[in-house]
Amino acid sequence: MLADKSGSVETISSTPAEGIRIAGLTKSFKVSGGVVRAVRSIDVTIPPGQTLALLGPNGAGKSTTIDMMLGLSTPDAGSVSVLGRTPQEAVDAGLVSAMLQAGALIRDVTVRELIGMVAALYPRPMAVGDVLELVGIADLGQRRTQKLSGGQTQRVRLAVALVADPQLLILDEPTVAMDVEGRHGFWAAMRAFAARGRTIIFATHYLEEADDNADRIVLMAHGSIVADGAPTEIKARVGRRTIRATLPDVAPERLQELPGVAAVTRHGETVSLVCDDSDVAIRALLAAYPLAHHIEIAGADLEQAFLELTGDEDIPVGEAVA
């Protein structure tokens, strides 16, 4: 009796029943002149309730991974398990919904009609009015979909995904085409949704966006996972900003000694300082060399950071040509 009981408890606790498990996931595409290995045997386990950012430059394999998680694409090898089911089963049961990358809305219907139709496809949808409220378009319910601005369209697309009230919400570069204000509103709505214990996976190529909104960042480049950890950890590895300034007659070695600076290069009169902490570095630079001018501070160059993390030798055929 006792042995039986403990046995069954162990079985339950050792199975991440509600999470997402990706194991050995692999996908290649044929292109003219070769094969692009879009996703190369990745492994990720995502516990329920986590907000995870898939971070990487264009062509990293984020969208291909998402397509396989949604059953829109079949892996060449490996598997995806969503809430203990296959992706297609999870979709059919209404447990998953997604806001896919880009895409216009269908024409000739009002926003309310569109969201209402999608709601009717799910077993336990949110109320249409609540969803419109949540994404900040309560006043646009009667508007025809072809008469929306770019930012409004993105919000309606988000509403299409949210009205399902899914256990897992997938967002593929959701804030593209949104202005700054729109992004703030968007992520506020996402945090409210995550607070209800739902799992969110979003793809982005903005480090800041991943850092601000995710519990965990999975960094992808050229189809592989190159880093996986807490945002602070990832930011320390790839989040270096670059200060460029016109500053003649100062030796790079001297600049290297400034606090917050990791590396220095000089091109003629221009110096580039790669910084661990650009705030500290810029203050020190101006204090020590007030003649520095034409100053630019550029955000983290993810593509460059990824190349450093992955090494150059492993670039797929299709991209090497381009």
């Binding site: 829109l72 269908i106 496809l121 299409v160």
Partner: protein, 245 residues
């Protein structure tokens, strides 16, 4: 409930798009009057024993509905290009409910086209018994099945860019070889070819009022085979069509 919600949605969209309705319903009607009105007194067109207005009433009903069915493909191709089809695929909407909505909306457009052409036909002196009207309509609706499948097949196969030529060319070819515009001779290559085309049998529904049962076993087999093959093609195209377009 799910099927109903999506079907209703498709109907709302169709009737909100006046251009689609005007072209698919109005065009055959105008063409009918332009061709048949000046020849309304010809009792036997090209010796077929069928009056000129009747021949073109059914000919244009065949052409208009066939074109309407295949034009469903243009709507589907457009929905794919905008990414809407992929969004629908990640909802619990079943493939069956999706196809049902597409086919039902296409059939309602076809029925409107047919009804208007019948009214126009009667206004030019076409008359037949209630039984003939019903049987003819029934056969037309059955003969449209392969074209409904063809529309969905093309919609998931062809991109928006090449959809115009695909629809225009396909419809014209089927219409011409099926005898929509001129009676097919009683023998020869065109006759033999026509026998295996669904559009031929669609037009043959016109022979009803001229007496006899025009659809022998061959007609049913041709319609069934085309419907079967094109449905398989449509299902195959829909399943493999999950890529970003």
């Amino acid at each position: 409930m799910i099927a109903f919600a999506y079907t209703r949605f498709e109907f709302v969209r169709m009737f909100r798009n006046p251009r689609f309705l005007i072209f698919s319903i109005g065009f055959p009607l105008i063409l009918f009057y332009a061709i048949a009105a000046p020849n309304r007194n010809v009792r036997s067109f090209n010796g077929s024993g069928i009056s000129f207005p009747l021949y073109y009433m059914v000919g244009l009903a065949a052409f208009g509905t066939m074109a309407g069915m295949i034009a469903t493909g243009a709507r589907i191709a457009n929905e794919r290009t905008t990414g809407w089809t992929r969004q629908l695929r990640i909802t619990p909407l079943t493939t069956r409910a999706y196809f049902r909505a597409k086919i039902l909306t296409a059939y309602v457009t076809a029925l409107l086209t047919i009804a208007l052409l019948y009214i126009a036909g009667v206004s030019l002196g076409v008359s037949m018994s209630a039984g003939d009207w019903l049987e003819m309509t029934g056969l037309i609706l059955i003969a449209l099945l392969p074209f409904a499948a063809l529309g969905i097949f093309l919609g998931h196969l062809v991109t928006t860019d090449s959809m115009g030529p695909a629809i225009g060319g396909g419809t014209s070819l089927f219409a011409f070889l099926g005898g929509t515009w001129f009676p097919i001779a009683g023998h020869g290559f065109l006759h033999d070819l026509g026998q295996v085309l669904p559009s031929y049998w669609l037009v043959q529904a016109a022979h009803l009022p001229a007496g006899g049962h025009p659809w022998h076993a061959m007609a049913w087999i041709v319609i069934a085979v085309w419907t079967g093959v094109l449905s398989l093609g449509a299902a195959f195209a829909y399943r493999r069509d999950t890529k970003r377009v």
